[in-house]
């Protein structure tokens, strides 16, 4: 286990180096002028020599390798730089927004796990019934639906037409404090959409693996012992199908990141994922680079989790645990 973790970490270092170098090279090759982005609308009424002055103050006239090492060194020391689109330190923005992303994504994961387990097990249990076909077909269709479109439909139905839930934001505007109930109400739609959009593969996976275990000896045995059908499905089949979950979940982090970007954007959720879009639109390299790096780290953490879970869920331990 320790070796595995070390191996993963050893692999992460060159990857992160490659990612940072790649990003920096791209930014350098970019035709964009960061000073223009900083000035915004005022670029049109700012004299050219003022622009040059700002450029020099930012060290943009120095060689690229020097700029890169300075930037990387600062990153390592925890100085993430100044966001040009928010006009605030990047660290502050991340610290402020990361919890909201984690909250929404965490809730979505929990909901997705719980929902998929129920739905997938239901489909497996009623295999080949109309319900099963509906669930399987729905999961397939859902996999093809662009998440941002699903989010818009949800806004249209639940916020515009029915008026049940807010269409976005974190709290009501007039409230100057964070009321947990208020936040929860604003969280319903984004969490629901994120969970639904990510759950197709999980539903199908649960269904297949429950069907598989239902055929296995110990389940057949349990049935033969006259245990109730529900007990058989829940206690035996589902339990042994559950273990590889974490492995799969860890491997799905990139998709979660993607989903979070789109869902947070549609719902104006003040998390890091929507900040990445804002940063991209204003070519805010300091912030975008840190957020991209953060996404990469999340994926690496997911991989690590998957590996660890895989070892823990080794078939031998699994059989021992169940019997």
């Amino acid at each position: 286990m320790t070796r595995l973790v070390l191996w993963r970490l050893a692999f992460a270092v060159p990857l992160i180096l490659a990612v940072t170098a790649g990003m920096f090279a791209l930014a350098h090759a970019s035709p964009f002028d960061p000073v223009r982005q900083y000035l915004g609308d005022r670029a049109m009424t700012t004299a050219p020599e003022v622009v040059e002055q700002i450029r020099a103050n930012w060290g943009l006239d120095r060689p690229i390798v020097e700029q890169y090492t300075t930037w990387l060194g600062n990153l390592l020391q925890g100085e993430l730089g100044e966001s040009r689109s928010f006009n605030r330190p990047v660290a502050e923005i991340v610290a402020e927004r990361l919890p909201w992303t984690l909250l929404a994504t965490g809730c979505a994961i929990v909901l997705m796990l719980a929902g998929s387990l129920v739905v997938g097990t239901l489909a497996a249990w009623k295999k080949d019934s109309a319900l099963d076909r509906l669930i399987t077909g729905g999961a397939f269709a859902n996999e093809s639906v662009p998440v941002f479109w699903l989010a818009l439909l949800a806004v249209y139905v639940f916020a515009v037409r029915l008026g049940w839930l807010p269409a976005g934001g974190l709290t009501d505007a007039a409230s100057t404090t964070l009321d947990p109930l208020d936040v929860a109400r604003h969280m319903v739609l984004p969490v629901l959409v994120l969970a639904v959009s990510q759950s197709s593969w999980l539903v199908l996976y649960v269904r297949e693996s429950v069907i598989g275990t239902l055929r296995e000896d110990f389940v057949v045995g349990a049935r033969a012992r006259g245990l109730r059908e529900r007990t058989v499905v829940v206690r035996h089949a589902l339990r042994s199908a559950l273990l590889p979950f974490l492995t799969l979940l860890g491997a799905r982090v990139p998709e979660l990141v993607t989903g979070a970007i789109l869902v947070e954007t549609v719902f104006s959720w003040p998390g890091v994922a929507s900040a990445s879009v804002r940063a991209a639109l204003s070519v805010d390299f300091p912030l975008l680079a840190v957020l991209t790096l953060l996404g990469t780290l999340a994926v690496l953490a997911g991989n690590l989790l998957a590996d660890v879970a895989y070892t823990v869920a080794d078939p031998r331990t699994r059989t021992l645990g169940v019997s």
């Binding site: 930014a27 818009l152 990141v257």
Partner: protein, 270 residues
């Protein structure tokens, strides 16, 4: 959706995309301000958008643009992936291990985030979208090709050719490539819907194709503003035009996969 319905859907959409622009050539940049925001009617089955363009017609044009961008992006990723896969598979040993590490690294990156990064740094354009999708999605092709090459290497006819003194390049050209081509093509086809998805997501975020261009992502982005005012048709329709072909391809690919060898099935986790 059954295989036949899926195939029929693809055929109808394909024909529409090919023929409609020939039969009803409309300059998609022309607007008619006096016919803006009309709800669905006989004249405009899916209504008109906020500057008076027919939504149904624009969806067809949009699918065409999105499909082209998706196809080119898929081809780019196949070329990159194919090269890496052939190199890794035929050299074997340390180069293979190193290359596959790179593939692992690349495939573990969050694609949309990197796509956003690339587009952000190079201004939204069709080229930027193609590049951003291409360079983040070649790993699947690399894995498929590598495993094919590995399995081919052990086959008698290759061994015969090598021991017969044929050069490495010749072996690749004459023997490996014809065997790889069908796999690569299939992988490309399966990649297209994913590439379309990427294009629409980027365009939706305002980081994709030029906003006046008829593309499905742009249309959903445009429609978003009318949606809250109650004009549902201008965002609903383009979404369906993404959903239908994607679903059809995934249904068909499910069928093909069942017939293909199991190795392909596991590698093609699209």
């Amino acid at each position: 959706m059954g295989g036949r319905i899926a195939a029929a859907t693809l055929a109808v959409l394909g024909l529409a995309v090919l023929l409609v622009p020939l039969l009803i050539p409309v300059d998609q940049q022309l607007v008619d301000l006096r016919a803006a925001g009309l709800p669905p009617s006989l004249a405009h089955p899916l209504g008109t958008d906020e500057v008076g363009r027919d939504v149904l017609l624009r969806c067809v044009y949009g699918l065409r643009v999105s499909f082209l961008v998706g196809l080119v992006a898929a081809l780019v990723s196949m070329v990159i992936g194919g090269l890496v896969g052939v190199l890794a598979g035929s050299f074997g040993g340390l180069p293979d291990r190193l290359l596959m590490r790179v593939v692992d690294g690349f495939s573990s990156l969050p694609h949309l985030l990197f796509g956003i990064f690339i587009v952000a740094m190079f201004a939204p354009s069709a080229t930027a979208v193609v590049v951003s999708v291409g360079v983040t999605h070649w790993t699947t092709a690399a894995r498929i090709v590598r495993s094919e090459v590995l399995s081919l290497r052990g086959r008698p006819f290759i061994e015969a050719a090598v021991s017969g003194g044929a050069s490495r390049a010749r072996v690749m050209r004459r023997h490996l490539f014809p065997h790889l081509l069908p796999h690569l093509l299939l992988a490309t086809v399966l990649m297209v819907p994913h590439a379309i998805w990427h294009e629409t997501a980027l365009s939706f975020l305002g980081l994709g194709l030029p906003p006046h261009l008829a593309s499905l992502g742009n249309m959903i982005n445009d429609g978003q503003r009318s949606l809250l005012a109650g004009d549902w048709w201008s965002s609903l329709a383009p979404g369906l035009f993404i959903l239908a072909p994607t679903l059809a391809v995934s249904v068909l690919s499910q069928r093909w996969r069942d017939r293909l060898n199991p190795r392909m099935r596991s590698e093609l986790a699209l």
